[in-house]
Amino acid sequence: MTKIHLPEGYHLEHDPDDLWGDSRIIVNIGPTHPAMHGALRMVAKLNGETIEKSYCEFGYTHRAKEKLGENRTFHNFIVYTDRLNYCSALINNVTYAMSVERLMGIEVPERCVWIRMICCELARVIDHLICIGINAVDLGAFSYFLYGFHQREEAYSLIEKLSGARLTTSYTRIGGLMADAPEGFEKELKAWVKKTREVIDEMDRLLTNNKIWKIRTVGVGVFNKEDCLEYSYSGPNARAAGIDMDLRRDQPCMYYKDVEFDVPVAQNGDVFDRYLVRLEEIKQSLNILSQCADRLKKGPIWAEDKRVRIPEKNVVHNTMEGLIHHFKFFMTGFQVPAGEAYTSFEAANGELGFYIVSKGGSSAHRMRIRGPSVWHFQGLSSMVEGEKIADLVAALGSINIIAGELDR
């Protein structure tokens, strides 16, 4: 906060830190403000333009997902996972499918795992593009956002080819996938990767060394390493502060052991470093994508496990047993053996975890979703204390709060 130094002997009637003569005002930022990235609210006490104290509120889009998880079957719950972090719905789908498969001890075939990895990295690129793009829009760099937005639309077209939907994909099934990747998907993916690399370089040249961008972001919204650990920051936000943690590398699942990628780590933990880490992570994700496309081979996409295998349509329509199987699968669901597991994966924003406790039924006893946004949003108040209100917008955009994941 700006400290005012008064000449000696000079006496003020009011508090010298009070720039405007005790005219502090309380401002409600959100829940429907365009700079708030979703239905979340910050109530700030301002001294002039400086935020003296603030508190955050959320829950405006609370849809009781954890309660639904206890009342829907494991198969039914897949569609609800889309609506967590809707910018990277595929990562939620994959993590959820993995956590139930882990409880059931089901291993999915190789092709399925590679396609899931492609899904995760595509979603990560989309999520990061939207984060840095919107962050730039908030600070006035509109055209930058459009560069990324085009590639993002192209990525959504790829996802549409996989799952038939663009945003809420519901692509994974427990023990498999909704559908196989179409013929020639690898080629299209590689062409997209090549084009996106060029676009990312162009975006890098356009904004990274821009003077105004640097003034607006360097040293703004600083959250150092200790703060990050106190508030359980994970993902790019933690890496921007020097915490070398990436669950893809540290706790490898799927085939992340077999692909090569680097984990970018920055030091200062300000808005600019978060931007740099995300930009570099897009490049690394593109590397992973091209490796995945190379290694994608023909094969089955479903685990051969009768408990979770959804019967083929021709079997359902032509045999009595198939019809019964289909009916039982969708009406009562399959049973998951008793046990508990916390399965976490490096989502685009940080550690996404599903803590599922099963008591042997066809729906969970407890379905806990650990979304990274909750923990990131919690740190926002102390991050922006003493900063200008315009810097709040920069800081909020850079930690990428997604309301769907925040409210669950």
Partner: protein, 188 residues
Amino acid sequence: MDIRNPIPTNGGDWLARFQEIWKKQVEILQQKFGDTIEEVRMPPHAPTDVPVIFVKKDQIVEVMNFVKTSPEFDYNFLADITATDEESDPRFEVVYQLFSYTNKNRIRFKVRVSEGDEVPTLVSVWTGANWAEREVFDMFGVRFKGHPDLRRILMDVRWQGHPLRKDYPLRGYQLFTEAEPVDPGLLE
């Protein structure tokens, strides 16, 4: 086939990598805290992915401080705090998921708490425990002793009941015609 047969592509190597470490850590905890450690569920004998250590609720802050700071443990990252409604006595289990980003290791602590009882807050150990504990209070009605700001977090402040309790109905809607008021006291 269940969690006791971990699958290679998802945590299949955890037992090989961490089992000895976990055993050693549990031994140290049992030596240091004695009766405070009520029960230990160890994979692969128990159906869980990582060891579940039940701690008496009054000592939870001590134990957490120890596992956070001592070099053999180094569980420096609070992954999650949540609770489960067990519909028995004691009714709730508060669950703490810890991760060590230096040792890449996970562990889980649990505290049994009866309805109406209080659990000491972890805010002094991790500042970030604040909102997670508020959510547990909001959803289950478990109160945290010494918590600086134990208000509802997802539901409206005027909400009746705790939605994630098993006896709360699935469609227990409550409608409010006026918006939730701003609390200027929180800005002091």
